[in-house]
């Protein structure tokens, strides 16, 4: 993080940006780094790549050529097929309705995307070549890339962007739109001219561009939307992306080939992608270790350890990501309606022990309510001395026992049900959590195991007391998920948490553009959540990508967080 932020802004494209002063301040504060891409947007033949990949010295041809995609350095070789091992099944092919974008995204582009060159720390152009922020951050105007065509030959234009986002913001009947919750503050998306699009906001959002980067915020053509009655679940709609669809053998593999007409003439380097469906967690790592696949986005910890021992052929890394394990607490009923009881649990249960218990499965990244990988996150150093997060537990446990006694449960609590999914969560996390509740707080729980698919409905019905479950988000900023999860009446606030102080603070965080002020507000919000926790956070996970040494150009060793997405910059080193 700091590495990037010490570099001065590279391209100053002539004050096209109205809100530039604000953004420069943000940059100086070292936060919301991605926003600086607004200034760093390359235009024309300008060399715009910030020298941000410190390990790989970018060679001239590997840097942005003309309007091309910025890509990590090295001397790329052409040819070959990249084989990935992952779960690639999906219920349908509509990325906006929840189709699996770690597969689909290769065939499409977004308006903007995270920059691979600096490990996803800034935002760079994709289909939008540049953008301007309007007065007060209330509008974003995107100049679109010329000469882009879809795989069916259809030219790309502003109408496609408008059609795409209108469907997200205001889905026709029968279309579900999970992305809509992210864009509640967007009033309209308008076509300024054929190659210009403007988003009008009802109130500013400092993280607006970040909302356009997730792999599922991709652009469909107006033509495919209209032809299919705005429902793309059954069709693989043509995209503008670097790869074209070839074949899909369900529950087995996806095949894609390089798009010869891709708007970046250099890309892609490989001839195609072969995405093998490997449903079992541990088999993904095994596939890479046994050379049945070249890479996997995320492998089981044990196979990852094995990969770490084979530096001659295999490289592995751990990346922050925005999926987490939680123990959800139903705030509606005694004894968990009492914030003191929830805080006692927050303090007394050791995250380090839970991480150890889950160590054979995944690497737990002990973080606070704002995860590592987000610029506003509390640093691991600060966390290591913080009550509830530190390894040294005696003082926290004593405080917790006192809190429980104050709440009238000094003798402990009995008859609590702890719900967990079958599999590792039920076999490892739940028993460890149960063990520590009993040992530290004399809270006796009964574990009930249900199939993973049932947890969600139990959660939505609110028919639980404690529940071990996963929950994640695609945008790292606290504001969107804060409103969904913790705001009073939030649409995914299944535990019924209500904290008026937090609600007020969140309202300010949503719209604050001043970085330092926002940092302070977010710190305050995290303190409020520590004091009156809505649920117990086990920890975010590290994603554990593992790849054969011949796989290059994905910056997997460099990323600030895991993004299972586009791979047009990948190349295969035949000599490795």
């Amino acid at each position: 993080m700091a590495r990037k932020l010490n570099t001065p802004p590279q391209a100053d494209n002539g004050g096209r940006n109205v809100g530039r002063r604000t953004f420069l301040k943000m940059m100086a504060a070292g936060a919301a780094a991605s926003a600086l891409a607004a200034c760093a947007a390359p235009t024309g033949g300008e060399q715009a790549a910030p020298a941000a990949a410190p390990t790989a010295v970018p060679t001239p041809e590997a840097m942005a050529t003309g309007a091309g995609m910025m890509r990590p350095g090295g001397n790329p070789q052409r040819g070959g097929t990249l084989r990935t091992a992952f779960g690639v099944t999906m219920t349908h092919f509509d990325a906006h309705q929840g189709g699996g974008t770690h597969v689909l995204s290769h065939m499409y582009n977004n308006l903007v995307r995270n920059n691979l060159v600096d490990g996803l720390r800034t935002i760079i152009p994709d289909l939008a070549e540049s953008w301007e922020v309007g007065e007060g951050g209330l509008s974003y105007t995107f100049a679109l890339r010329e000469g882009v065509t879809y795989h069916d030959g259809e030219p790309f234009s502003a109408q496609d962007v408008v059609a795409t986002f209108n469907r997200i913001l205001d889905p026709p009947e029968g279309i579900v739109s999970p992305l809509r919750a992210n864009f509640t503050f967007v009033d309209s998306v308008e076509e300024v001219d054929d190659m210009t699009v403007r988003f009008n906001l009802s109130s500013p959002r400092p993280f607006f561009l970040n909302l356009l980067t997730p792999t599922n915020a991709l652009i469909y053509s107006k033509k495919s939307l209209e032809e299919n009655n705005y429902d793309l679940r059954e069709v693989i709609a043509p995209g503008t992306g670097a790869f074209r669809f070839v074949d899909h053998l369900p529950a087995e593999k996806w095949l894609m080939e390089a798009n010869p007409d891709y708007w970046d003439p250099e890309l892609p380097y490989v001839d195609g992608l072969e995405m093998l469906h490997v449903p079992a967690w541990s088999d993904r790592g095994t596939a890479v270790l046994t050379d049945q696949a070249d890479m996997s986005w995320n492998v089981a910890k044990e196979t990852w350890d094995e990969g770490m021992n084979r530096p001659d052929t295999i490289t592995a890394n751990k990346l922050a990501n925005f999926g987490a394990y939680w123990v959800f607490i139903n705030n509606r009923e005694a004894p968990f309606d009492d914030p003191r009881v929830r805080k006692a649990i927050h303090l007394a249960v050791s995250k380090q022990n839970l991480a150890a218990a889950f160590g054979t499965q995944e690497l737990i990244n002990i973080t606070r309510w704002v995860p590592q990988g987000d610029p506003y996150a509390t640093t691991p150093e600060a966390l290591s001395t913080m009550p509830g997060y530190r390894a040294e537990k005696d003082e926290d446990v004593a405080t917790a026992q006192q809190l429980l006694a104050d709440a009238g449960y000094g003798d402990g609590i009995t008859g609590v049900e702890l719900l967990a999914a079958a599999g590792p969560q039920g076999e490892l996390l739940a028993p460890a959590f149960q063990d520590m509740l009993k040992r530290q707080l004399n809270i006796e729980t009964e574990i009930r195991i249900v199939e993973r698919a049932l947890l969600g409905s139990e959660q939505q019905a609110g028919s639980y007391q404690l529940m071990v479950h996963t929950r994640g988000h695609s945008v790292s900023d606290i504001s969107p998920r804060g409103n969904l999860w913790w705001a009073t009446g939030g649409s995914q606030n299944f535990g019924g948490y209500s904290n008026p102080d937090f609600d007020t603070l969140l309202g300010s965080i949503d719209v604050e553009l001043e970085v330092e002020t926002r940092q302070g507000q977010i710190d305050d919000a995290q303190n409020l959540l520590d004091e009156n926790p809505p649920e117990y956070l086990v920890g975010y996970t590290f994603h554990l990508p593992m790849w054969n040494n011949r796989v290059k150009g994905l910056a997997l060793d460099e990323r600030a967080f895991a993004e299972w997405g586009r791979m047009e910059t990948v190349w295969i080193d035949q000599d490795a």
Binding site: N216, P250, E252, A422, A453, L454, G456, S457, S491
Partner: protein
């Protein structure tokens, strides 16, 4: 004989009807609504509103009365369309066609293995009754009948991983595409299943052989001076094989069940693993059709076993 055949087939009809009703009802009282989760799989939670859920249910025909849904299902199955998986959209019939051969191959190889190992051991054990060989083989039979097949599978994997750092392939490889790759995927599971089965076969072969050995015609044959081995091969083998073949048919039921856990142990992409996966994911269209498939296979095997009994032993006739 043809009357017996007719009767036996007639009885299979209400059985199959009952099987379908039982499965259908089980799937309708299954707790939890998989539809609620369809959208949540890849990009976080998304909660379907009541109307959205209703629309989805209607589009899948789930808002129709039960008896119509049942008839829909039966009509679909008869026309060869088994619907598709909730989670990956794959047509279930296609999945069965791709994975079925793997499972069938493992089962057949297990049976062949059980004959290859079980019959000779059983016969030798009978011929050399109360010798060391007999005692040893009987101990082996007792042990291998008791060893759970999936645990045997785990032991085999443990051995190959610790000694050879080798694991079976994870993608589907058909025998006709890549025989070696296919065998490296199927031989070990077939062993795990087949060894337990050979114990049962050996036991059956031994008792059948013992019975034959004391029949008058064997004594006659011996007294006529035919060489011992010839006697054994001509008479004992032939007579010992009959019960072995028919009991193997019955054992296939246990084999189908055992294969589910063995396939899971080996992570073999067969039907059994698919069934377990479908069950943990509440993919009820998949469960419904796979359980039906298992039921039908079992009914057919039982039918064939009954018929073979009747064919081999004319005294047995139904009712």
């Amino acid at each position: 004989m043809s009357k017996y055949l007719f009767n036996r087939l007639l009885i299979a009809i209400p059985t199959i009807f009952g099987v379908t009703v039982l499965i259908f009802l089980a799937m309708r009282v299954i707790p939890g609504d998989p539809l609620q989760l369809i959208v949540s799989e890849s990009d976080g939670i998304y909660v379907l509103s009541g109307e959205e859920l209703q629309a989805l249910r209607a589009s899948l025909g789930l808002d129709r009365p039960y008896h119509l849904q049942y008839l829909d299902w039966i009509a679909q199955v008869i026309s060869g369309d088994m619907g598709s998986s909730f989670w990956n959209k794959e047509p279930i019939s296609g999945m069965i066609l791709r994975r079925g051969p793997i499972s069938a191959q493992i089962a057949i190889m297990a049976v062949l293995l059980s004959w290859l190992i079980g019959v000779p051991i059983g016969m030798l054990s009978a011929m050399w009754r109360n010798t060391m060989m007999d005692h040893l083989s009987r101990v082996g039979i007792t042990v291998f009948i008791a060893v759970p097949s999936y645990w045997l599978g785990l032991l085999i994997i443990l051995f190959t991983v610790l000694v050879f750092s080798w694991r079976p392939p994870i993608t589907i490889i058909q025998l006709w595409e890549d025989p070696l790759g296919n065998l490296s995927m199927t031989v070990l599971p077939a062993m795990a299943l087949g060894l337990g089965l050979s114990a049962g076969t050996a036991r059956m072969a031994r008792s059948a052989a013992l019975e034959v050995l004391f029949e008058d015609y064997i004594r006659t044959a011996r007294s006529k001076g035919l060489r011992e081995t010839l006697v054994v091969w001509r008479h004992v083998f032939k007579n010992a094989m009959l019960p072995v073949v028919t009991t193997t048919g019955l054992a296939l039921g246990g084999l189908l069940g055992g294969a589910v856990s063995v396939e899971t142990a080996f992570a073999v992409p067969g039907l059994g693993k698919l069934l377990v996966q479908g069950m943990t994911e509440r993919d009820w269209m998949m469960i419904q059709n796979l359980v039906l498939l298992y039921g039908l296979i079992y009914v057919i095997i039982n039918l064939l076993v009954d018929l073979s009994y009747a064919f081999l032993d004319p005294r047995i006739r139904y009712e």
